[in-house]
């Protein structure tokens, strides 16, 4: 009994960790290209979830189809945001002021969602919502699996873009050393804008995945931003593999802790890990040179 319960928790943790990993990768991208802590990331996540819900309730189609609209839309929004807002800030105070700017964007999004869709809790009803199957005694809901596959596929796509394409090379060069990248002819401004767009696109994918199996409401994003920021600090600011590993470890840890502690207290694992990391290894467990100075 207990064994299967633990297995069940690990499976749930992995499924949740995949989504955390994708979203944390987006946050890491912003930090990498611009040294920006993007508070509004989770607000965009909830926005995408709302758009998926609205799409389904209006057209009756599967929420996955909303990705066709939201991903390009969010990519463009990210580029516009970087070019028009973030790049206007003074370089000397960029880290602090960008926090405030993205924080205010988060407030505007939350307020508008509440204004347009009201504060009522929303949930997408799908024909396969309740379906699940068993693997070695662990119960896996189909919607959670779809969300995980979606997140994993996007993470893989992100990895391939970063490693295999010319643009990815330029993006990595911008993250590692912007001045050197400019010297070898990378247009770092444009690349940073696209990097921002990519980060926001992860929020679009994550939001659709979230909308599949959870109840959404406008202020939900505060429950996401804390864990996500803890993940990127634990993983080392700026390191995408670090963020992915930290997301998996903490996601599984959260699911396991839910057994003895209940869902509310299990969330504290993120904050405990955050404080422990800053006390023991302020640059994070997988961070490199970049994290040490920030």
């Amino acid at each position: 009994m207990s064994g299967s319960l633990i297995l069940q928790s690990v499976v749930l943790g992995v499924l949740l960790g995949g989504l955390y990993a994708l979203l944390a990768a987006g946050l890491t991208l912003y930090f990498g290209v611009m040294r920006v802590v993007m508070i509004a990331h989770s607000a965009f996540l909830i926005l995408a979830a709302y758009l998926a819900w609205y799409f389904t309730s209006q057209t009756g189609l599967d929420p996955l189809f909303s990705l066709i609209i939201t991903v390009p839309l969010f990519f463009v929004a990210g580029v516009v945001m970087q070019r028009l807002l973030i790049s206007r800030l003074r370089p000397a105070t960029l880290t602090m002021m960008s926090v405030l700017l993205t924080f205010s964007i988060a407030l505007v999004i939350e307020g508008m969602l509440g204004f347009i869709f009201s504060g009522t809790q929303r949930r997408i009803q799908l024909p396969y919502s309740g379906t699940s199957f068993e693997v070695f005694g662990a119960n896996i809901a189909v919607v959670k699996l779809i969300a995980f596959v979606l997140a994993a596929a996007s993470l893989l796509a992100l990895y391939l873009i970063m490693k295999r394409t010319r643009f990815g090379q330029a993006l990595r060069a911008t993250i590692q050393h912007p001045e050197a990248a400019r010297l070898v002819g990378v247009n770092t401004d444009r690349v940073a804008g696209y990097g921002f767009g990519l980060g926001l696109a992860t929020a679009a994918v994550g939001g659709t995945a979230l909308a599949l199996d959870s109840t959404i409401y406008p202020s939900l994003h505060w429950h996401w931003i804390g864990p996500l920021m803890a993940i990127i600090v634990v993983g080392g600011l700026g390191s995408i593999p670090g963020a992915a590993i930290a997301a998996m470890v903490l996601g599984i840890g959260q699911a396991l802790l839910q057994l003895p502690l209940g869902t509310t207290w299990a969330q504290t694992i993120f904050y405990v890990a955050l404080f422990a990391t800053l006390m023991l290894r302020p640059q994070g467990f997988f961070g490199g040179r970049l994290a040490q100075r920030f």
């Binding site: 002021m97 205010s104 508008m112």
Partner: protein, 362 residues
């Protein structure tokens, strides 16, 4: 030059006296208890924003989570009165000392690395406190809230309560402002401002950056907790959702930034403007989600177009109509050469004087 400085000083003193007189007279000027209670709320915001400005203004580290300290101050005060049976004012002070002690490990964790992690920890702290105080119902009352006993007996009526708490908040604000002013003029303050301008250079010049940041962080937490405790005593009721709200923390940031984080009275000015606007908005439109949008837009506008705040902006405007006081030397190369020649010939004159002196002695 000295004359204009004395005039300047006179204007400042007169302005300060006028400000104090206005603040002291406010309760008798207020037409009804509601306006008076709005005044207390604005004063409370001013205390919190000024306390926030110890960290934000001196070091440039923006904390979005100062609501954690005000909330903890409020809860500590309430719990010390309820469970330990302490005098309310002793409880408030002890609570603030406790919060300041708690701020030490938090500061050590969050100030070790630059900027980004500080902000992340500050937000995480509010979220964790909200979680803890909502779930730990047996001690904190959980989501049902906690009733704080009133420090004055039942014979003191509502309007009189408001008036007393207005003066109490004013006194606390005066202490906080005085402390800020004293630090501003001290060696400690100069070190902190050096950290704000360039932390690497400050460290290279021998400023003990980490302990300075930690010290001012603890001072800030202490004053914020006092403000939270005093508010709790006045309001009489604590609910985790409002005490540990990230919005309260962002109000403090917005008020300070709007007024000007580098000026002594910046947070106070911001608190008066934003506090009044918030109360007006609430009275006019009720509690809709729209105040979030308004707050967000206002914060974005301030960050994008006026990151230095109103007071420096107005100061620059005034300075434009004054005689130019440029920091650049306005001298032509020829004038400079002439001056150098003058300086070069000076030692001769000194020698001559020394010679004549010797002659005189003989």
């Amino acid at each position: 030059m000295t004359a204009s400085r004395t005039v300047n000083r006179g204007v400042k003193i007169v302005g300060l006296l006028a400000l104090i007189a206005l603040a002291l007279a406010f309760p008798s000027l207020a037409p009804d208890p509601f306006i008076l209670s709005v005044g207390v709320v604005i004063m409370s915001y001013a205390v919190l924003a000024t306390s926030w400005n110890f960290v934000g203004g001196f070091t440039g580290y923006i904390s979005l989570g100062h609501a954690a300290y005000s909330g903890l101050g409020g809860y500590a005060t309430a719990l010390l009165i309820l469970d330990a049976g302490l005098n309310p004012w002793v409880a408030m002070l002890l609570g603030a000392v406790g919060v300041a002690l708690l701020a030490v490990p938090i500061g050590i964790a969050s100030l070790r690395v630059r900027g980004a992690s500080f902000v992340i920890v500050s937000i995480a702290l509010v979220l964790i406190m909200l979680l803890a105080f909502q779930s730990w119902g047996s001690v904190t009352g959980g989501s049902n809230g906690l009733r704080v006993p009133r420090p004055f007996g039942p014979e003191v009526l509502r309007p009189e309560q408001h008036e007393r708490f207005f003066y109490l908040h004013l006194a606390l604000l005066a202490i906080a402002l005085f402390t800020w002013w004293a630090i501003d003029r001290s060696r400690f303050g100069i070190g902190l401002k050096a950290i704000r301008e360039d932390e690497d250079k400050a460290e290279a010049l021998g400023v003990p950056t980490f302990s300075y940041k930690l010290a001012v962080f603890v001072v800030s937490a202490f004053f914020t907790a006092l403000g939270g405790g005093l508010y709790a005593l006045w309001f009489g009721f604590l609910d985790p959702i409002f005490q540990f709200s990230i919005l309260v923390g962002s109000y403090m940031v917005l008020m300070s930034l709007l007024g000007g984080i580098r000026s002594l009275f910046g947070p106070l000015l911001g608190a008066v403007i934003v506090g009044y606007a918030l109360e007006f908005f609430k009275a006019q439109y009720g509690d809709t989600q729209f105040h979030l949008v308004a707050l967000g837009l206002l914060l974005a506008l301030v960050v994008l177009f006026m990151p230095d705040g109103i007071i420096p902006a107005v100061g620059q405007l005034v300075a434009r109509f004054r005689p130019q006081a440029a920091s650049i030397r306005e001298q032509t190369q020829a004038e400079l050469a002439a001056q150098r020649r003058g300086e070069a010939s000076e030692p001769d004159r000194d020698d001559a004087m020394a010679v004549s002196g010797e002659e005189a002695r003989r």
